[in-house]
């Protein structure tokens, strides 16, 4: 028995070291990316980073705890507006505005969550839908604070006077937050809190008899997910340098929903893959729309949005019905097969 145990821990240690090496290489690659890749890629990478953070948040809520939320875009908006307003009024630096963005989003999340997290899951969805519209309305009509449809411009973030006014510089800021948000997500998942989340998603009753106070942990999951959205929103403000209500519509909520589904619910890798897929998709669709539009003479502008909606819908339905574990599962399967081929059989 003792031989088997040490054998096992040896194997897990080597597996962990392999993982660490791979992650290290990835990190290195991400750090030098701006020096080797064309400018357009860096813009994408920045946007991708923001989407990853937001998707991680929704994944914690939805993928792990099973709370379906349609208000995610509005929380991103809350984060973005927090940054814009704090900067405009108090000239606050990013290391104040971004945490504030996260905290305010979490607080508002809790506010909506209070009535809705105690009742059945379906009602939570409906409540978040209502919340999304109401918050969007606030963005548009609370003009004294948000300047409504005009939008607000955002000055670049600055680090000790060093202005992050190029895509490359903002990229590093975003990269920093992507790294820590992923680490935090991983830490939560691998802890007692994360296990409680999964228990709630799977079987309410069993979770309770194991000591998990359902409502409390639902709150935690919801607040945590909203905080991630808020941080993503804050970064978006520094990225776009412009905030306006149109950016935070129901369409964006569905975007993140699709990202979680396509990537694979309940998987950190899934959140990353899903965000990546959904970020690249509009570009691919633009190319397709160009081809179709050119070929059939449709107006490109009018066909792009409905085309995107159709494709989002098809992706959601297809992945839910056919591969609910998402791209993460496909990735793992591929990696396992590849690993199986690379190593001689060790059985």
């Amino acid at each position: 028995m003792s031989v088997a145990t040490s054998d096992l821990s040896d194997r897990t240690r080597t597996a962990e070291n392999m993982l660490r090496i791979r992650v290290g290489i990835l990190l290195l690659g991400l750090l030098v990316l701006p020096f080797v890749a064309p400018g357009y890629w860096i813009f994408f990478a920045g946007l991708l980073g923001i989407n990853i953070i937001a998707t991680q948040g929704l994944n914690i809520m939805m993928g792990y705890t099973g709370l379906l939320s349609l208000v995610h875009a509005a929380f991103v908006g809350v984060g973005a507006y927090t940054v814009a307003v704090m900067q405009a009024r108090f000239d606050a630096p990013f290391w104040v505005t971004i945490p504030s963005a996260g905290i305010l989003a979490a607080v508002i999340g809790l506010g909506f969550g209070l009535p809705s997290l105690r009742i059945r899951g379906l009602y939570l969805v409906i409540a978040t839908l209502a919340a999304q519209f109401i918050l969007h309305f606030v963005f548009v009509h609370w003009e004294s604070v948000t300047k409504g449809d005009l939008g607000m411009t955002v000055a670049p973030a600055s680090v000790f006077g060093f202005l992050l006014n190029t895509e490359v510089r903002v990229y590093y800021l975003i990269l920093f937050f992507v790294i820590i948000s992923t680490i935090f997500a991983r830490n939560v998942i691998n802890s007692r809190v994360g296990r409680a989340f999964i228990a709630i998603r799977e079987r309410d009753l069993t979770a309770q008899v194991l000591g998990v106070e359902i409502v409390r942990y639902k709150f935690i999951a919801f607040a945590l997910g909203s905080m991630y959205a808020g941080v993503a929103g804050g970064l978006l403000a520094y990225f776009n340098r412009y905030v306006n209500p149109e950016q935070f519509s129901l369409f964006l909520s569905v975007f993140f929903l699709a990202a979680v589904i396509v990537g694979g619910m309940g998987s950190i890798l899934g959140a990353i893959l899903g965000a990546a897929f959904m970020t690249i998709l509009p570009e691919v669709l633009r190319g397709v729309a160009l081809m179709i539009g050119g070929g059939f003479g449709f107006d490109l502008g009018t066909i792009l949005t409905p085309l995107r909606e159709t494709v989002f819908g098809i992706l959601m339905v297809a992945f839910l019905v056919l591969e609910p574990r998402g791209l993460a599962e496909l990735w793992n399967r591929f990696a396992r097969r590849w690993a199986g081929k690379a190593k001689p059989s060790s059985h």
């Binding site: 296990r195 009753l205 069993t206």
Partner: protein, 260 residues
Amino acid sequence: MLRVDNVQLSFGGVRALSGVSVYAAPAKITSVIGPNGAGKTSLFNVISGFYQPQAGKVVLDGEDISRLKPHARAYRGMSRTFQNIALFHGMTVLDNIKLGAHTNLKSGVLAATLRLPSTRREEAELDTVVRRDIVPVLDLAHVQDSRVEDLPYGLQKRVELARALVMRPKVLLLDEPVAGMNREEKREMARFVARVNREFGTTVLLIEHDMSMVMSISDHVYVISFGRPVAEGTPDEVRSNPKVIEAYLGGADDAPLSVA
């Protein structure tokens, strides 16, 4: 250890339990049996705290817990399995078992997110305890890293049992632990329940409608039918009680499973 006093439970006009009392003595295996629909699961749900009885109380280790919510009862040392397998898909066997430690661990969200040293220590200790103390007793070493959904039924039931033990419960409630098993699997499960009781001294209260498994491992047996108590006593006393035989309509010809 666990006493249920004169519980009355009704749903609308339907009487589920009428004056049922049960006592699970410390470190002993107590069973509640009865035909289908007798009210056994309702009894367990009252003990767990999912149903509030119209009358009666539940006392655990001297403390009246009748007003406590289900999750709070876990913190008092009550553990339970369910009739249907309630394992968590997408997690390995080990992770499922670790979930049983929720009440033992202390890390909150902040500690967990930042992976503070206290959290790291807790997790490492838990890992050791589960691998060293729980997994061997239930013979799960060979599957501890598998996904639970890939395991056969009997093994899944054992994983559930393992999970219920991690908190070192004062009382372990087993809800029809051998439901859906064949004769061989039932013998095995009975063996494991007995082993758990022996090695950890856990007080066990189980409900079953399969007489044979119950008779072979129980120290004390209660029989209920249509929500009413019918008889109680040692397995031999109960087996030969005419009222019990009548309640089961001839179920007494189940030979007891022999457990070494």
